[in-house]
């Protein structure tokens, strides 16, 4: 294949994608069988997961080698930028679905179940009168319409304890990564490394606090996934956010290593920027979580 200098880099055929598809298939096929109690489900799932990690390692390794070999011009860099930006947009829409479920439940479903037929989306109060006439509306739900199926939590999460602290932690991690970016622009490696290290540590601290909170919720508050719509939205939203923080932290660690290996300079550091965009996105999602899940 001919590459004129300055022309758009076209990669040669690659085996990573097909291995990635095999990995995804094993993960999904294994997970579904796991859910059905089939004994070879979990092993298949983990084999798939291991294969996926291997593919990600190999694929990114390949891309990094190409990047270091100087095959990527400005235009290629722009493609990656557009790609990452719109990938983050799709993630925003994914969270949007769950926030939508939260708002709908709070505004409409709970009110309707409590016999209020004036809400915007809900219409009928019949469920209330015919099935659960005793149900009272309140948020967070401390009594579910049918407590025998969905036992309610004893207590709800308090916003101004650990969650507020976590907000501070994530916000300052957004600051430290920006500070690292300044170092990148000024080509100061130690500055970058310190900034990234601080960000990673703040991310890990956040995750530890979050884990502590989950344990408290499960053991002390009896607040679980099965505690009705409050527990459902609480754990699904914060859980997916926590998953994204975990992924973001892993990506930050990779970037930290790459910065240590001198992969970046002030001109050429899109990988760093992509991860920092992702980190800011995770940050903003948390702000919404804090306001709508914990606080209001």
């Amino acid at each position: 294949m001919i590459h004129e200098k300055g022309s758009y880099y076209l990669p040669s055929p690659s085996y990573w994608p097909i291995f990635g598809s095999c990995a995804l298939f094993c993960i999904m096929f294994g997970a579904a069988h796991w859910l059905h109690g089939v004994n070879w489900g979990p092993p298949l799932f983990f084999v798939g997961l291991a294969l996926l990690f291997f593919v990600m390692y190999g694929w990114f390794h390949h891309v990094i080698q190409e990047s270091l070999a100087g095959l990527y011009n400005k235009q290629v860099d722009h493609s990656y930028r557009w790609g990452m930006a719109w990938f983050i947009f799709s993630e925003v829409m994914f969270f949007g679905a769950f926030f939508g479920a939260l708002f709908y439940s709070r505004i409409s479903a709970v009110a309707e179940l409590a016999g209020d037929s004036t809400s915007l989306f809900g219409a009928s109060a019949l469920t209330h009168y015919l099935i659960w006439p005793g149900f009272m509306p309140h948020w967070p739900l401390l009594h579910n319409p049918d407590p025998s199926l969905f036992p309610a939590p004893k207590q709800v999460m308090e916003a101004w304890g650990i969650p507020a602290l976590n907000t501070l932690i994530l916000l300052s991690s957004g600051g430290t990564i920006t500070w690292a970016h300044w170092g990148m622009i000024k080509n100061k490696r130690s500055h970058v490394l310190i900034g990234l290290l601080l960000t990673v540590l703040l991310g890990i601290t956040f995750l530890c606090f979050q884990a502590h909170e989950y344990i408290t919720a499960y053991e002390d508050y009896n607040l679980r996934l099965t505690s009705g719509i409050y527990g459902t939205t609480f754990f699904m939203l914060t859980g997916f956010h926590g998953l994204h923080v975990t992924i973001g932290t892993i990506m930050l660690i990779v970037i930290l290593f790459r910065a240590y290996l001198n992969h970046f300079n002030s001109e050429h550091h899109f990988a760093f920027e992509a991860v920092s965009w992702y980190w800011h996105f995770v940050d903003v999602v948390w702000l919404f979580l804090f306001v709508f899940v914990y606080w209001l």
Partner: protein, 534 residues
Amino acid sequence: MNSIEHAVDQHAPYNSQGFFSKVTRWIFTTNHKDIGTLYLWLSLIMFFVGGAMALLIRAELFQPGARIISPEIFNQMTTFHGLIMVFGVIMPAMVGLANWQIPMMIGAPDMALPRLNNWSFWILPFAFALLVSTLFMSGPAPNFGWTFYAPLSTTYGPKSTDFMIFSIHLLGLSSILGAINIIATIFNLRAPGMTFMKMPIFVWSWLITAFLLLAVMPVLAGVVTMMLADRHFGTSFFNAAGGGDPILFQHVFWFFGHPEVYILIMPAFGVMSEVIPTFSRKKIFGYKFMIYAISVIAFLSLLVWAHHMFTSGIPLVSELFFMYATMLIAVPTGVKIFNWVATIYKGSVTFETPMLFAIAFLFLFTLGGFSGLMLSIVPADYQYQDTYFVVAHFHYVLIPGSVYAIMAAIYYWLPKWTGHRYNERLGQWHFWLTVISTNLTFFPMHFLGLAGMPRRIPDYALQFADFNMIATIGAFIFGFSQLLFLINIVRTVRGKGPHVSNQVWEGAHGLEWTLPSPPPYHTFSSPPTIDECK
């Protein structure tokens, strides 16, 4: 293009000899033309799979009474027919067209992210393996319709539902990656001088479709994730006993579902806007308005989802809002129809197969649009909801809309891709059989629906017998006439037809027609300059 590249650029990546390298060429490929071909073949195969399921459904409905398949199988067939036709046929076909055409139309060397492009395709066979595997498992396959409403799919869903959920996750991932690639390509890889307002409308329509995909596929992933959690982890998104609401499912699903229909139709608009000017030998009428119209349609499509839920008990205020918003879509759609007709007006029109399909599109898609308007009227919808009228409506939109456009596109561009003319006579036979049988199949369904025949029912009252028999006969004619399509494609791909020039069609404009037919494996390795071509 310089001479060195000519010597190197073959129609295949390298001399692929031996079975193994022939297979790996297709599995490892990062070439937009190869990947486009893969998408299109997958789509064609799934078209016959999904079509066979439809024929099974129609065979059961040939006469009243339980005849061929059990109600359980019938329900599985309606579910699979819908899922396969939407995700396995129309979407891959449109993405295949995008892969082949967008780089050639904007003067790009390839898609912006070629390896990701390969992955977008190669996720699909695995996703469908996951989905179709449920048909061979003990216990029923998914049997609640392609809309998989909760609680049918949660509390009462068969075990196999989980495989469908994971399959949809994979399909969503594939679409999202594909959409990202298309956006990056169009934003970043246009040849110098190819400004946005010079881009072919096909490229425009795909750009907007890609945004819609990014906006709604993650929401689909979200809703199936909620289903999974409700089914296995004790959450209560769709369970009123825990404070949730099954209606929430419908809101989230249709927030995806309605724009999804536009994802299926907007690339078809793009195809029409290429085919009609070519065979009318005129420029498209109202280029800018075509683009504004697609943008407005895409935007409105995000605000009309609850027109699928008029009978679910949503309040009057919402019903009114969604009714008027839905009706509003008729305005930009009308602009498009008007512009296509105005393009044909006073053109020197010839009627090759692509143009025939385009004209059938104009008439029959408009008909489907009108029945859509009827359905958008709330009090009328109370009558039509869940009847065969709805089936008639969306099949008129999807077959003469999306499927005819795909067929027109194949007949239109296949000579460019292969260097050979398809068999025109066979094409005309295919067209007339298809268009007559489409109407034979679906037109009577309007009457069935208005008379009250419910959809998704394996048996029906005696008074519906005649129209059902006609519909079944039409469906079988439709199904078997598609074999002509298959034969024509295979013949052309194998080089049976006469050679074509670079221009192929006398009235065609655009960069792809400046390339040789078939185009070399790599095109526009150095970008062309765009001057007054448009």
